[in-house]
């Protein structure tokens, strides 16, 4: 190797080494922070003489995360869940103090309901539900022989959990915090610059369908990730919380603008495919000012504000150019298509301006008074899937409880608790069977390590500092594994198993027989949870649920056509995005399922938005009475067709839209409705879209545009 090769290679190597060290440092920082929180909690709990310091210590492991904001968010929901669970436990015990069958039934039902509720949410709110369920079990089951003790038991549990949460919250927030606020800021900036760059680059009008689909997927993911980040960051950063409404508005406007943008491009693509180049090119020319307006350096900090006046100018210019460009067209078809495109373009320009405006107000250093517009991110939930989760958790509990009663197993409560915890914790993830087995393996090894630690190390030491030194190496192994993506669940099982089985308290009991019996009970509980996932397979990730989600997605058109108008735009967009991202997360990219989904999502998005705009315009102007039946008929048939796609429904919908177009055409003062109707019509006739499967025969190229 020559000298020049070496000098070429060394900077690269150094960079690699630095990168590796940085990654390693963040792993070890996590380990150290978690250990500090773990042992500090234990020390305080022992000083306060709480009955079970190990619960408080286990809490710090459960909420451990590399990001401070995640720890705080999870802590917040864990606190809520614990309080609700303790309240439920007191109610259940007070209702059935002497009826063990009814007691177990009520407890199982409560746990099942909580597990079901958890599947309805995709952030830490689901965790609060899970906790509400198993906290009730943890509080109520140990006092089953002594009902009056439930109150003390619940206060002890609440104190321990809150202590663990407080300590890990403080440790993670104060010692070298790793801020999610920066991640959110980066996400917002990337979302903005990607979208602006994409719009700018596609000004030429030539965007292949595939690029559009990929971009759509990326935008959907960006919107949902952004919402998830926002819901965690507000716990970490007071300023982010003050801006929370703005962040939502920013995201909603992003979704609206990206939908209009892709509608516009599908329109241009369709025109091109039908060889109506003149209309397409005129539209592209009309749209050029937006591209030049966005052509500013995006890296600078205050860029969004710089773009605003340029966008206003571009909008003015478009408005001025519209009549002259329209006059340059002679063919009636061309003029009509141009009108449709121009109104779509005007809508897009307005939404883009609103989006950039929201971005600019986010970039100002001062918090501006909260905007008057309250926006929510609605989720697309499946209640049947939640029902299945409810059923599974309830049955697991009932099965174990029956076994416990009939076998009179002294440690049955231990098994029951563990089964509750894991059946709840893993009900919300796509592949719970595999994860539960991994955690179980980790749990087993953690307990084996716990055996070595308790009987060979802890018996030799005296005092808290030595206890820390004795346990830390065993725990650190699990924590390091938690940070590697492949071994994460194994490591979690290890750390939890170790912390749980050690059961540290002020006067530690060394009883190998009890230790082993308890270990067996806990493994049985874990196994019961794993088996329950096999017996009643989870809905999440199954083809059945995916089909239901697809039906739900198509139903969004019916929502757009028939739901009450106020707030409908945001509702439509956010539920759409949530549904699409759920299915995207559960399918492999590029698979048939995933492609079908994206194709449907595009059609639903485009038609739904056009219908909403149409209904807004219908509500604004007073229509001639003769016209209204045709329009509502078109809306209803479209809704029915999307709910149950079939060739017959397709023909009905197509004809209804054609009739509506014809009748609107007769009324001079209702012209503005035509643009939306044409958009719907063209989406219906698009031979490349997913609707092509329902067309009687492939339409001629000319027919796509000669709609009516």
């Amino acid at each position: 190797m020559s000298a020049s090769d070496l000098s070429m290679a060394s900077p690269f190597n150094r960079q690699a080494v630095v990168e590796t060290l940085r990654e390693e440092a963040s792993v070890w920082l996590f380990v150290v922070k978690t250990l500090v929180a773990f042992f500090l909690t234990g020390w305080i709990a022992m000083r306060f003489a709480l009955p079970a310091p190990s619960t408080a210590m286990l809490t710090t492991i459960i909420v451990a995360n590399r990001q401070s904001g995640m720890v705080l968010a999870k802590s917040f929901y864990r606190a809520i869940g614990t309080l609700a669970g303790a309240a439920a436990a007191i109610t259940i015990v007070a209702s059935f103090p002497q009826q063990r069958d009814l007691f177990l039934l009520a407890l199982s039902l409560w746990i099942g309901l909580c597990a079901g509720g958890a599947t309805l949410y995709r952030n830490f709110k689901s965790y609060a539900f899970v906790l509400g369920g198993y906290t009730a079990a943890i509080v109520a089951v140990p006092v089953i022989d002594n009902p009056p003790g439930v109150f003390d038991s619940s206060w002890a549990r609440i104190s321990e959990v809150l202590l663990g949460l407080a300590v890990s919250g403080v440790v993670n927030d104060v010692i070298f915090p790793s801020r999610m606020r920066d991640v959110l800021r980066r996400a917002a900036r990337e979302q903005f610059s990607h979208f602006v760059a994409f719009v700018r680059d596609s000004t030429r009008g030539n965007v292949a369908r595939e690029t559009m689909e990929n971009a759509h997927l990326r935008f959907v993911r960006a919107a949902v990730t952004f919402e998830d980040l926002r819901s965690s960051v507000i716990f970490e950063d007071a300023e982010a919380r003050a801006r929370s409404g703005h962040l939502r508005l920013f995201n909603q406007r992003f979704m609206a603008a990206s939908t209009s943008f892709q509608s516009l491009h599908h329109l241009i693509n369709r025109l091109k495919r039908a060889h109506r180049d003149l209309a397409a090119d005129t539209l592209v020319r009309l749209y050029a000012p937006v591209g030049t307006a966005l052509d500013a350096p995006i890296e600078a900090g205050a860029v969004a504000r710089v773009l605003l006046p340029r966008l206003v100018a571009a909008r003015e210019m478009m408005r001025k150019q519209t009549p002259s460009l329209r006059d340059s067209l002679t063919d009636a078809q061309d003029v009509r298509d141009f009108d449709t495109g121009a109104s779509l373009l005007a809508r897009f320009a307005d939404e883009l301006h609103a989006y950039v405006d929201a971005a600019a107000s986010l970039q100002t250093p001062r918090v501006i008074a909260a905007s008057g517009e309250r926006v929510r991110f609605d989720r697309g939930n499946d209640f049947l899937g939640a029902g299945i989760a409810t059923l599974r958790a309830t049955l697991t509990m009932l099965g174990l409880g029956t076994f416990w009663i009939y076998s009179a197993w002294p440690l049955g409560s231990s098994a029951m608790l563990l089964a509750t915890v894991f059946a709840g914790l893993f009900a919300t993830i796509p592949n719970p069977t595999r994860v539960t087995w991994m955690v179980m393996l980790g749990y087993l090894s953690g307990m084996a390590a716990g055996f070595v630690c308790e009987f060979f190390v802890l018996t030799q030491v005296d005092g808290y500092p030595l206890l820390v030194i004795g346990i830390a190496p065993f725990l650190a192994v699990g924590l390091v594994m938690m940070m590697s993506p492949r071994l994460a669940s194994y490591g979690l099982g290890w750390a939890m198993g170790l912390a749980y089985i050690l059961a540290l308290k002020n006067v530690q009991v060394y009883d190998p027989a009890h230790f082993i019996n308890d270990a067996i009970a806990q493994v049985v509980g874990l196994g019961a949870a794993a088996v329950s996932f096999v017996v009643i397979p989870p809905a999440i990730g199954s083809a059945w649920l995916r089909r239901r989600q697809l039906v739900r997605l198509r139903g969004q058109v019916a929502l757009a056509a028939e739901a009450p108008l106020p707030g409908l735009r945001h509702r439509f967009e956010s539920v759409n995005h949530d549904l699409v991202s759920q299915v995207v997360a559960q399918t492999e990219p590029g698979s048939a399922d995933s492609r079908a989904l994206v194709a449907w999502a595009l059609a639903v998005h485009e038609t739904g938005r056009a219908l909403i705009e149409l209904r807004h315009d219908m509500a604004r102007a007073d229509l001639p009475l003769t016209l209204r039946p045709y329009l509502t008929d078109a809306l209803h048939t479209l809704a029915r067709f999307y709910e149950k796609p079939a060739p017959a429904g397709y023909l009905l919908a197509r004809d209804a839209v054609a009739t509506a177009i014809a009748s609107v055409g007769e009324h001079e003062d209702a012209r503005h409705l035509l643009d939306h109707l044409h958009l719907v019509r063209m989406a219906l006739l698009d031979g490349e879209s997913v609707l092509a499967a329902y067309m009687p025969d492939a339409p001629l190229a000319k027919e796509i545009i000669h709609a009516s």
């Binding site: 206060w155 809150l162 927030d173 104060v174 950063d237 007071a238 003050a242």
Partner: protein
């Protein structure tokens, strides 16, 4: 204020109730500070927040004496 607070004739550790109250108070102060950007004037906001909490909790705990 007694060491233990009676909630519906059940005795609850007073410190725990105060802890929750202090958390709520801190949350309100935090909201005000975030709304008016007061954390910009502070070197290490989390440490500052912790210190405020200690002050609030300590002041509340004086009621127990």
């Amino acid at each position: 204020m007694p060491r233990e607070i009676a909630l519906g004739d059940a005795l609850v550790p007073g410190l725990l109730v105060l802890f929750v109250l202090a958390l709520l108070l801190l949350w309100a102060l935090d909201w005000v500070a975030g709304r008016f950007g007061l954390y910009r004037l502070v070197w290490h906001p989390p440490l500052f927040r912790l210190a405020v909490f200690v002050c609030v909790f300590g002041a509340c705990a004086l009621f127990l004496l």
